[in-house]
């Protein structure tokens, strides 16, 4: 019987052929926790009798969600993580090194064909690498760190097939927003997604990460991009589905006419063509996050803002996804372009994405953000509204002070 990518990867890890619906205990290749989930993970690890993490080379802690620490309480939690990492001989990624998902990929903690478990809901991002990656909470992660294993129900898979090529000025973010709108925020709960078809084949690794990242916004356990066209700077063996694999559902879209998309408050699946919202006044523009804080995202914003100034009523925050992204954006001139246009650069990391610090919106304010979530209160103030769009849309909107279709600046 044919297998999906997820069924193949899990089968490889449990040493027998398994199919959707089976309950398995699988070994994992690596795991990580951030400063939101890490402290509770450490506590649970100790409580369950954990002495040594299963493989210090493959387990990591990342300080990214509230970095540098905004208060003494969080400073103490960060210290707890540093102490634990030292004790265990595992790597701790310090403040400013970057967002957990970005640094896991850059530092090759996860590779094609792996099973990777992260104590963060956007762990499916590694599906860009043709890996099976799922998010869990702290106690689950503690158990994985201790045993090197996880229990899983082999998921059913939804196939999302996109034919056609994206138009110039339309990005992977527009494509995934469109798909989240179609599948809905609970449309893939407990299930895996396979993204396949021409539209994905020419995408860069960064764009594939944007796609896989938002599988979480459809409730999926994992979201894997078909490896066709995937280019990495090391050799790898890719895992492809069998032609007779069993899908619980298949979506087919021709995306060659897709327009830039916007997700309106207050759910990521409230997605519409940008024309529905053009002209909406904005106060605050944000580019960053594990969804869209990579070099190509900053580059496209710089292309739009080059030699111009953002609108006087708008403030703009840039949080590069990692230090390495920041260094690249410094050397290619993107960073000075953005700053000269009026943007404010903050520490590489999650920044204001999760409402902890570094740019909480005021009551009644409107944010255009390149992030992945716009739930009420997400950025720290339940009385503000968040629109999601591509980095190009965020940049064009910052320029005009209102939601703006970026195409005219890119063609």
């Amino acid at each position: 019987m044919g297998q999906t990518i997820s069924e193949k990867i899990i089968s490889n890890h449990v040493g027998k052929e398994v199919y959707a619906g089976e309950l398995v205990i699988s070994k994992v290749d690596g795991c990580m926790a951030s400063d939101t989930t890490g402290p509770l993970t450490i506590k649970a690890f100790r409580e369950m009798g954990g002495k040594k993490v299963f493989n210090p080379e493959k387990c990591a802690l990342i300080i990214d969600h509230a970095a540098p620490s905004p208060n003494e309480r969080i400073a103490n939690l960060h210290k707890m993580m540093r102490d634990f990492a030292k004790e265990q001989g595992m790597r701790l990624f310090e403040i400013g090194e970057g967002i957990c998902h970005q640094v896991m990929v850059e530092n090759q903690y996860v590779k094609p064909g792996d099973i990777f478990i992260g104590a963060d809901s956007h762990t499916p991002t590694y599906g860009a690498l043709n890996a099976f990656a799922c998010g869990v909470g702290s106690t689950d992660l503690a158990a994985t760190m201790m045993t090197g294993k996880i229990w899983l129900k082999v998921p059913q898979t939804i196939q999302i097939n996109c034919s056609g090529k994206l138009q110039d000025g339309v990005t992977a973010k527009d494509l995934i927003l469109f798909l989240v709108g179609k599948v809905t925020v609970s449309g893939a709960t407990y299930q895996a997604i396979e993204f396949t078809g021409e539209a994905f084949e020419s995408l860069s690794l960064a764009s594939r990460m944007t796609i896989a990242n938002m599988s979480s916004e459809m409730g999926a356990k994992t979201g894997i991009v078909h490896p066709k066209g995937l280019a990495l700077d090391y050799d790898f063996e890719s895992i492809t589905p069998d032609t007779d694999a069993n899908y619980v559902k298949t979506f087919n879209f021709d995306v060659s006419d897709l327009e830039p998309q916007v997700s309106a408050p207050e759910s990521p699946d409230n997605v519409h063509n940008i024309s529905n919202y053009e002209g909406t006044k904005i106060n605050y523009a944000f580019i960053g996050t594990c969804c869209n804080g990579r070099l190509e995202d900053l580059d496209v914003a710089a292309e739009i803002l080059k030699g111009k100034k953002i609108h006087p009523d708008v403030r703009m925050v840039i949080a590069p996804a990692s230090q390495s992204v920041l260094l690249d954006a410094i050397s290619n001139g993107t960073m000075s372009t953005l700053i000269e246009a009026g943007a404010s650069l903050i520490t590489s990391g999650c920044g204001p994405c999760v409402g902890t610090h570094q740019g909480v919106p005021a009551d009644g304010e409107v944010v255009i953000s390149a992030a992945n979530r716009n739930f009420r209160g997400r950025m720290g103030n339940p009385n503000s509204n968040i629109y999601l769009g591509a980095p190009s849309t965020v940049a064009a909107s910052a320029l005009e002070g209102q939601i703006t279709n970026p195409k005219k600046y890119l063609l």
Binding site: L23, V24, T36, H65, S121, T139, A142, V185, T189, Y190
Partner: protein, 168 residues
């Protein structure tokens, strides 16, 4: 540690797609202090909840309860506030696992029509939920065996302390 398997209490009822930011906003999650979590539970959804909830009360919701982040602080905040069990039409998967892992029972009842303040009688062993106010009986979806074992121990910490590793 055995968990209480018979519960009779009042239902606090909310709607669909209650995300983890609404269960406990991100700005309060960076703590190991459970009372801080309980003090802010559901505050952006219903600021009165935290004052009205009584130990043992039942939280009832619609579809996709707990969607969003992986923060285990969400079920911890609910448990600490006194909630004894969460019933929803269905759950987001990480929340579902987290709740079981910390020993907060969750029941999936796809077609419930439980109303605010209903008095419920729950048998966690059988998954039978009696709505005594509306006089309707529901049967919750059966949990995977491993989840039943984890819940029976009061959570994953106890389960692994006892067993050392996972067993099927």
């Amino acid at each position: 540690m055995a968990v209480q398997t018979n519960i009779r209490a009042k239902a606090h009822v909310y709607g669909d797609h209650i995300d983890t930011d609404r269960i406990i906003p991100g700005k309060y999650t960076k703590t190991l202090d459970l009372s801080t979590l309980a003090n802010h539970v559901l505050e952006d959804l219903d600021p009165k909840f935290n004052k009205e909830v009584k130990p043992g009360d039942i939280l009832v919701a619609g579809i996709n309860f707990g969607c969003g982040s992986s923060r285990e602080q969400a079920p911890l905040a609910l448990k600490q506030s006194g909630v004894s069990v969460v019933i929803a039409k269905d759950f987001a998967r990480i929340f579902f696992r987290n709740a079981i892992n910390i020993g907060l029972p969750v029941l999936e009842i796809a077609d419930h029509s439980i109303q605010k303040n209903a008095l419920l009688d729950i048998d966690l062993k059988t998954g039978i939920v009696k709505d005594l106010t509306a006089n309707i009986t529901y049967t919750a979806t059966k949990l995977p065996d491993i989840m039943i074992d984890i819940l029976a121990e009061g959570g994953l910490v106890n389960y692994l302390t006892k067993n050392g590793t996972y067993t099927l």
